[in-house]
C-alpha cells in the first residue's frame, strides 16, 4: 500500500510538471502582447520595451519557464534593476503586472469563496440526490419513483445560468425572500449573511448534479438489488431494513460516493457561470477575468492550482475506494 501511494504521488508530480509546461508554452504563443497590454492607450514604444524587460518577456520562453519553476520552490524577484523591485516569496506563482498583485495572493483571496460555494453545493446535491435516488429505487414503478425521475429530467435539462437567473428574479426581486447579494461574507465573520448570500448559488450548483445523482443512485441501488448476495442476505432471515442499508446501500453507494469526490474537486476549480451570475469573487470569476485580460501569469497560476486540486482529489478517491472495497486493495 505504501509503495502504491509513493508511486502515485511521483506520478502526480510528473503530471503537474508536464501540465505547467504545456500551459506555459501554450499561453506564451498567444497573439496578444502582454507588454503592450500593461500600458495605456497612448503608449510609446520605449515604455513598451521597458515593460517587456520588467515582465521578463525579453528572454527565451524556456528560460521564463525555468524562472517560473524556481520561483515556486525558492521565490524570485521581479523588476530587479528598477527602483522598486518586487519580492515574491516561495511558493511564488508569478506576478500579475496588469493588476499589480501577486498571483498567489489573488488566488488565496478567491479560494475561500469557491471553497464554500463548492462545499455547500456538494452537500446539497448529495443529500437531495442520494435521498431521492434511494427512495425512487425502493419504490420502483410507484408514484414516488415516477415523481423523482420527473424531477431529475427537469433538473437535468435546465442550464445553470437559467436556474440562477430564475432564482434571482423570483426569490430576490419578485418575492423579496432574500436581500440582494452584497458580496461574499465569510461564515466565521457573519454566518447569517453568509447563508443568505450563498443559498441561491448552492441551489443553482446543486440542481444539475442532484438530478444526475438521483438517476445514478437509483440505477446503482436497483442493480445491487438484483445481486445474488442480496438474495443471500434475505435467505439468512435478516430484517429488510438491514438488507437495504447494510447490504444493498453499502455496495450500491460506494462507487457513487467516490465518483462524487471527483465532481467536488472539479467544482473546487471554480464554477464560472454560477460565480458570475451571483457576482461571487471566486476562482471561476478570477479565471474568466484573467483569460479575458490575457493575464498570462494569473492564468498559469490558476491552472496550476486547479489541476493540483483535481489530481490530488483523484489520488484521494482512489485510496478511499481501496479502503471501502476490499476487492481493489493492493499489496
Amino acid at each position: 500500500m505504501a509503495g502504491y501511494v509513493v508511486r502515485r504521488v511521483l506520478g502526480m508530480v510528473l503530471l503537474l510538471f508536464l501540465l505547467t509546461l504545456t500551459v506555459f508554452f501554450l499561453f506564451s504563443m498567444m497573439p496578444a502582447d502582454p507588454a503592450r497590454l500593461t500600458c495605456g492607450k497612448a503608449c510609446s514604444p520605449a515604455v513598451i520595451e521597458s515593460n517587456r524587460r520588467h515582465l521578463e518577456l525579453d528572454i527565451p520562453p524556456i528560460e521564463q519557464y525555468q524562472r517560473f519553476v524556481t520561483g515556486i520552490f525558492v521565490g524570485r524577484t521581479f523588476s530587479k534593476d528598477s527602483p522598486r523591485p518586487i519580492e515574491c516569496e516561495a511558493p511564488c506563482l508569478g506576478y500579475s503586472f496588469l493588476r499589480n498583485q501577486q498571483v498567489l495572493t489573488m488566488i488565496v483571496r478567491a479560494a475561500p469563496v469557491t471553497f464554500w460555494l463548492a462545499i455547500g453545493g456538494f452537500v446539497t446535491w448529495m443529500t437531495v440526490g442520494l435521498t431521492l435516488g434511494i427512495v425512487a429505487a425502493l419504490k420502483r414503478g410507484h408514484w414516488q419513483d415516477r415523481t423523482v425521475m420527473g424531477i431529475a429530467l427537469v433538473g437535468y435539462s435546465l442550464p445553470s445560468f437559467f436556474i440562477g437567473l430564475v432564482l434571482i428574479f423570483f426569490v430576490i426581486l419578485d418575492w423579496h425572500l432574500l436581500p440582494l447579494p452584497q458580496g461574499f461574507k465569510s461564515p466565521f465573520e457573519d454566518p447569517g449573511k453568509f447563508v443568505q448570500t450563498m443559498l441561491l448559488p448552492w441551489i443553482t450548483i446543486a440542481t444539475l448534479n442532484a438530478a444526475f445523482y438521483m438517476r445514478l443512485t437509483r440505477n446503482q441501488v436497483l442493480e445491487v438489488f438484483g445481486e445474488d448476495y442480496i438474495r443471500t442476505a434475505r435467505a439468512k432471515g435478516l430484517p429488510e431494513r438491514t438488507v437495504v442499508i447494510k447490504h444493498a446501500l453499502r455496495a450500491g453507494l460506494t462507487p457513487i460516493v467516490t465518483a462524487a469526490g471527483l465532481d467536488l474537486a472539479y467544482l473546487l476549480g471554480g464554477a464560472i457561470i454560477t460565480e458570475n451570475i451571483f457576482s461571487l469573487p471566486g476562482l471561476g470569476s478570477l479565471a474568466i477575468g484573467s483569460v479575458l485580460a490575457s493575464d498570462l501569469p494569473l492564468i498559469t497560476g490558476i491552472t496550476l492550482v486547479t489541476a493540483t486540486v483535481i489530481i490530488f482529489a483523484n489520488l484521494v478517491v482512489d485510496l478511499l475506494y481501496a479502503v471501502v472495497d476490499p476487492r481493489v486493495r493492493v499489496g
Binding site: E227, D228, Y229, R231, T232, A233, R234, A235, K236, G237, L238, P239, E240, T242, H247, R250, A251, T254, V324, D325, P326, R327
Partner: protein, 359 residues
C-alpha cells in the same frame, strides 16, 4: 412420501402431516409481456430427514419452487397461491416478519453461484456471525467461536485465518463451503440446495455433494436438492421430482425413477447424461428443441412439442388436453397421455439402448 394434488385428499386424512407438504402451489409474475405462470399446481410431500431431488431444465420452475418455500418470491414481485406446510405450519399465510424469522433458522438455502452469493465487502466470518445474530441472542465472541467451528466442520483449511478473509480471496469450492456453513449455522430443519455444484469444477462438485450428504446425516436435516443433472441425483436423493414447464411431470422414489422411468421427458433426461463407461462411442441423445416459454404454454401436454412418442397417443390428446399427474404405481406419479402399457414398453426400449451401450 409423495403425493399429487389429485391424491392430496389422502394426506389430509392422515393424522400427521408430512414434515414438508406442498399443496397445489402456483407462482405467477406480472411482466410487461403478460402473466408468467412460473409454476402451477405443484404438490409434493417429504418426510423428515429425507432428500428430495427436483430435476428439470432451466426455466422448468425448480428455483421458483425453492424460493416460494423460502418466502422469497414476494420480494421479487411474484404472486403465490396454494399451501406450504413446514412442520405443521402453513407458510403462505404467515406475515412477512414471521417468514423472515423462519428463514435462516428453520429453513436455509444454498445458491447456485458461490462467486456472487457472498457479499464482496464483508469478511466471510462476519457474514456467518450476522446469520447467527439474526436469530439468536448470543454474544459476538460466542457467535464467532461457533462460526469458526462451523468453518472447520465444512472443511475450510486454516479456518482461524480464513474466518477473516474476504470472499474474493477464496476459491469457488471454498466459497460454497462457506455458504453451506452459513446455511447450517442455525441448525435448520430444511435445507434447500439450488444447483449447489453447477458453478464448480467437476472434481469439487463431488466434494460438495459429499459434504452436503454427510452434514445432512449429522444434523438430521431434510434436504431439497435442485439440479438439472440427473447424474448426481442417484447417490444423494431418496425421492425425485421431475419438473417441466412449471409442472411436476414424474415423481417417485429415486430407485423407481432410475429403474422404471415412464414419462418421455424423464427418459430424455436419462439419455442425455454423458457416460464414461460406454463400450462404443455413442453420440449423446439430447432432447430436441427448447423448453416452452412460460408466457405461452402449449394448450395440451406442455412437453408435446418435444416428445418423440406423442403420435402413439390415440385421438391426438397430447395437442389439446392437459394430462393429469396420476399414480402408475404406489408412490410413482406420471403426467402422460400414453397408456401405461405403452409407457412401460417405451421405457424398456430406451433403457435397453442405454444399457447396451454400457460394458
Amino acid at each position: 412420501m409423495i403425493t399429487s394434488n389429485e391424491v392430496a385428499g389422502s394426506v389430509q386424512h392422515s393424522p400427521a402431516r408430512p414434515f414438508l407438504s406442498i399443496e397445489n402451489l402456483a407462482v405467477s409474475f406480472n411482466t410487461e409481456d403478460g402473466v408468467v405462470r412460473a409454476i402451477d399446481g405443484v404438490s409434493v410431500a417429504l418426510e423428515r430427514g429425507k432428500t428430495l431431488a427436483v430435476v428439470g431444465e432451466s426455466g422448468s420452475g425448480k428455483s421458483v419452487t425453492a424460493q416460494a418455500i423460502m418466502g422469497l418470491v414476494r420480494s421479487m414481485g411474484g404472486h403465490v397461491s396454494g399451501e406450504i406446510w413446514l412442520d405443521d405450519q402453513e407458510l403462505t399465510r404467515l406475515q412477512p416478519e414471521e417468514v423472515q424469522a423462519l428463514r435462516g433458522s428453520e429453513m436455509a438455502m444454498i445458491f447456485q453461484d458461490p462467486m456472487s452469493s457472498l457479499h464482496p465487502f464483508y469478511r466471510i466470518g462476519d457474514q456467518i456471525v450476522e446469520a447467527i445474530l439474526a436469530h439468536r441472542k448470543i454474544g459476538k465472541a460466542k457467535a464467532r467461536k461457533e462460526t469458526l467451528d462451523m468453518l472447520r466442520h465444512v472443511g475450510i483449511p486454516a479456518a482461524e485465518r480464513r474466518i477473516d478473509a474476504y470472499p474474493h480471496q477464496l476459491s469457488g469450492g471454498m466459497r460454497q463451503r462457506v455458504m453451506i456453513g452459513m446455511a447450517l449455522i442455525n441448525s435448520p430443519q430444511l435445507l434447500i440446495a439450488d444447483e449447489p455444484t453447477t458453478a464448480l469444477d467437476v472434481t469439487v462438485q463431488a466434494q460438495i455433494l459429499d459434504l452436503i450428504s454427510t452434514l445432512k446425516e449429522e444434523f438430521g436435516t431434510t434436504v431439497i436438492l435442485i439440479t438439472h443433472d440427473l447424474g448426481i441425483v442417484a447417490d444423494v436423493a431418496d425421492e425425485v421430482a421431475v419438473m417441466y414447464g412449471g409442472r411436476l411431470v414424474e415423481v417417485g422414489p429415486t430407485s423407481t425413477l432410475y429403474e422404471q422411468p415412464e414419462m418421455p421427458y424423464t427418459l430424455g433426461l436419462l439419455s442425455s447424461i454423458p457416460r464414461m463407461d460406454r463400450e462404443l462411442p455413442k453420440r449423446l441423445d439430447p432432447i430436441r428443441g427448447n423448453p416452452p416459454s412460460p408466457i405461452k404454454l402449449p394448450p395440451g401436454c406442455v412437453f408435446q412439442p418435444r416428445c418423440n412418442y406423442s403420435d402413439r397417443v390415440p385421438n391426438g390428446a397430447c395437442l389439446d388436453v392437459r394430462p393429469e399427474l396420476l399414480p402408475t404405481a404406489p408412490d410413482h406419479l406420471v403426467r402422460c397421455h400414453l397408456p401405461a402399457e405403452e409407457r412401460r414398453q417405451i421405457s424398456e426400449e430406451v433403457r435397453r439402448i442405454l444399457a447396451g451401450a454400457v460394458r
